[in-house]
């Protein structure tokens, strides 16, 4: 359960980050140059997909009745965390998404271990 919860939270953060970086002004704030139009679209698309992945993981952890409740809370909190980090440590705010592949790796090892 804890793995699913952590995954849900990470995907929620990644999703919010994608939506945020898909916007001209926030992209420029982090990278100091304008965002290519195509990249912006990709970031927003991937962001929405990550949010859906988060919903799916929450539902796996809690079931489809409680899962969406937790999902909303995770979206809100992930968004606020991102908003608070961005002005102070913009690169860190983006870099946190690296926890996601790490989580994936650990999940993968977890899957292999018992078998």
């Amino acid at each position: 359960m804890m793995w699913l919860v952590a995954g849900g939270a990470l995907f929620a953060y990644a999703g919010m980050l994608g939506l945020c970086q898909g916007l001209e002004r926030h992209y420029k704030h982090v990278w100091n140059h304008a965002c290519p139009v195509a990249l912006g679209k990709v970031l927003r698309g991937v962001g929405w997909l990550a949010l859906l992945a988060s919903l799916w993981l929450c539902a796996q952890a809690w079931g489809w009745a409680m899962g969406p409740v937790a999902w909303f809370a995770m979206l809100s909190l992930a968004g606020l965390l991102l908003v608070m980090l961005l002005p102070y440590w913009p690169r860190l705010a983006v870099g946190l998404v690296a926890a996601l592949p790490l989580w994936g790796l650990l999940q993968w090892i977890n899957c292999l271990a018992p078998g």
Partner: protein, 504 residues
Amino acid sequence: MKNSFTQSMAWLHTWAGLIFGWLLFAIFVTGTLAVFDKELNHWMQPEIPATPVSQAAAAHRAIAYLQAHEPQAGNWGVSLPTERSPGLRVSTGDRRHGGGVQLDPGTGEAIAVRDSVGGNFFFRFHFTLDLPRNWGIFVVGALALVMLAALVTGIVIHKKIFKEFFTFRPDKGQRSWLDFHNASAVLLLPFHLMITYTGLVIFMLIYIPAGVDALFAGDNRAYFQAQGNTRLEQPRGLSKQPAEMVDVAPLLAQAEARLGPIAGFNIRNPNTAGARIEIRPELGNRIALSKGQAMVFDGVSGQLLSDVSEWRAAPLTQRVMVGLHFAQFGGYPMRWLYFVCGVISCVMIASGLVLFCVKRGRKYAAAEVPGHRWYRLAEVCNVGFVAGLLLACVGLLWASRLLPVELAGRGAWEVRAFFGLWLLALLHAGIRPARQAWVEQLGLAALLCIGLVAFGGLDDGLRLAVAACALVLGVLLGLVAWRVQRAQPTARKVRSGRRVEVEA
């Protein structure tokens, strides 16, 4: 004067937010603390051991104790040890009227436990403000309506909801306060709306009794029975004949398989042929709040007499909404999500209150300006109702440990300590310059939070978690106090300095 729709909405948001925000902050803080009410109960009663015991063993010990001490009672109530509340309590009255005896779940001996209001105080204050119950419910209901109005007017006057969705500009004084107020309100809008609306739904029959008045002549009990909450009739004759009772352990296992974790049970007419065993589930096995539900077994044969009732659509809807508010479902991860969301709500309200003063600071700061006195009143109330309430809350925890154990009416004294501290904080805010008052009260609250660790009990998982959480909150509060203090020299910097508070 207020010539456009948006302007009148802004007027309403500002003034309703200020005047009612002080009490709304108190309601949100105590509600947030009440998420961990049982854990706080456990912390505030250090005599209760936390030995892991199976529920079946604890149930046997409870029944043995009641057999020895209360064989003639008409009703036995037993609260079993659970994940969140490791105590074992037995009583002979109705469960909700409190009382009862605390047993050591490991030995079944009665233990002397200090009288404490516990985390239940925060829960009760959250919906009554410690007023007489029905008065309190009406006042809090009215405040919830104001909160809804503030949310809706806030949405109307915040024109750039999506454009500034991810925007926070620190160190810019008033702009930063507004940014934070907006970001915390918008990003958590689902939570704010849900918690406020479902809060109103809990007491819908008290707030809008017309339907039950018209259809059931005002008889709430008749309404609930019509919705499927029927109670079994008690067998009168059989309850006079003595009889041997069935072992409760297999019944507990059967109920657990059906309902999930069990909170406790009642035995009506124990030791008679009419004995009934009612087994209650924990509240959090599903979203809908299952308060009042139980599986009923025959106390002699062990036969299942009635299963938990299925709700019809309307009561089920209400139960689900109430359950969403009570946050009993989904285990600890969900509880933490609710807690953190609650903390952000509190800070959102506090940032709005501070914003009111920051916005007017330059205009009214000088004593000779007309209106200065009102500005000063708002400032004093801000300190006293925000920092002062936090002081009072942590002060209650200190009182629960420091007051003499044998003091008569000890619980009432704890409550007096809470309100006494709050009053002192208001007076202190009245005689100190606002910034100094913020620093001193927030600093003291931080020290008191951190100091909770010194009361020990750290070998027990639940108490350790309470202490650790208090430590983290204390450090955050200390950080806020430090930022306010450090940013003192120029007025402009102070405002940005207090921004940390909003992160806390």
